[in-house]
């Protein structure tokens, strides 16, 4: 097939510059667009156009790079939100287990547990926020009110904020006590500090994504979506 790859490469590079979200997801989007563009160019050549003109027509029919990138913004933001929330849930036990081993009450009881580890209600709130967001952005959105990109990214901000608050609370309780710090305590403190660092980075990224998704949509099916 005689396609002018430089034109297609430049067009896809412009789209790539406007995509923000998980790297693997962006790579798959670009691979899919490239396949579609190659097919579109081939169709135009079959219809009798010279290769250079075929590429121009195919690119024009795909839409401006800004319009295409904007059209993907919501999906990429939701993908980022689901991935990040999943990360918080998956790594939560790696932090919580140390505090549980260190501070668990004797005898066990829910009230005594919350008194010993006051971050537990925050963990419950974070899990509830994550479960609700997963449901409203996944398969259950057929029956539940669908959550858009804005709501999904707010959920990430909320869960990251809860994680920071929970870690700071438990650190203040533990370091404020006069109890000696065993090696297990050092591990728990280090785990919470690492999560505070990750959560702070997450808040910065999520806030940037939120600003982007809050800008008016220029694309979809609008009149200015084509060159």
């Amino acid at each position: 097939m005689n396609t002018p790859p430089a034109r297609i490469d430049a067009y896809l590079a412009e789209i790539a510059a406007g995509l923000h979200g998980p790297r693997r997801r962006r790579a798959r989007i670009l691979a899919e667009l490239r396949d579609g563009l190659d097919q579109a160019v081939a169709d135009q050549i079959t219809a009798g156009l010279p290769a250079e003109r075929a590429a121009s027509v195919a690119i024009a029919r795909f839409g401006t790079p800004a319009a295409v990138a904007d059209a993907f913004a919501a999906e990429l933001t939701i993908g980022y939100a689901r991935q990040t929330l999943g990360w918080f849930v998956a790594t939560g036990p790696l932090v919580g287990i140390w505090w549980l081993l260190l501070l668990h009450p004797r005898p066990w009881g829910l009230t005594a547990l919350v008194a010993a580890i006051p971050a537990i209600p925050l963990v419950a709130a974070g899990l509830a926020t994550t479960a609700t967001t997963f449901a409203a952005t996944g398969r259950l959105m057929r029956w539940l009110p669908e959550a858009g990109a804005g709501r999904a990214v707010v959920a990430v901000l909320a869960v990251a904020g809860l994680a920071i608050t929970g870690d700071l609370t438990i650190l203040a309780v533990y370091l404020g006590s006069d109890a000696p710090t065993p090696p297990l305590g050092l591990v728990a403190v280090a785990a919470s500090l690492i999560r505070i660092g990750f959560s702070s980075i997450t808040i910065r990224r999520a806030a940037a994504l939120r600003r982007r998704t809050a800008t008016p949509d220029r694309s979809t099916v609008g009149r200015n979506a084509r060159r």
Binding site: A71, E75, R142, V221
Partner: protein, 112 residues
């Protein structure tokens, strides 16, 4: 056709195009264009996200294939997608019949 008229119907249209069998994204969008006689002529690149959203909702599924050395993503309807398409059709029949009944009713001339 005004683009905003498509709002709320694009999901059903994409499901209907995929009903006969699996297709890759570009073929889906071209089928939409040709089946509508060119009336539904959306910028191709902006329709892919609608396919991704339908997949997230579990109404379609996709798999990557290698065709002539190129990676290609093919979509197909899931059982939930078939059911959703049936619901969309029933709603559309009801809606379009109601709108047609109102629009086709012409006022009778007032008696002299």
């Amino acid at each position: 056709m005004r683009p905003e008229l498509l709002k709320g119907h694009l999901d059903a249209l994409l499901l209907a195009v995929l009903e006969p069998g699996p297709q890759h994204g570009y073929a889906v969008i071209e089928a939409l264009r040709s089946a509508s006689g060119g009336t539904l002529d959306l910028p191709t690149g902006t329709v892919y996200p609608a396919l991704h959203r339908l997949e997230r909702a579990g109404l379609i599924a996709s798999e990557w294939q290698t065709v002539d050395g190129r990676r290609r993503r093919a979509y197909h309807l899931t059982p939930a997608g078939h059911a959703a398409l049936g619901e969309h059709r029933a709603l559309w029949d009801q809606f379009s019949a109601a709108v047609a009944a109102v629009l086709s009713a012409r006022p009778r001339p007032a008696p002299a």
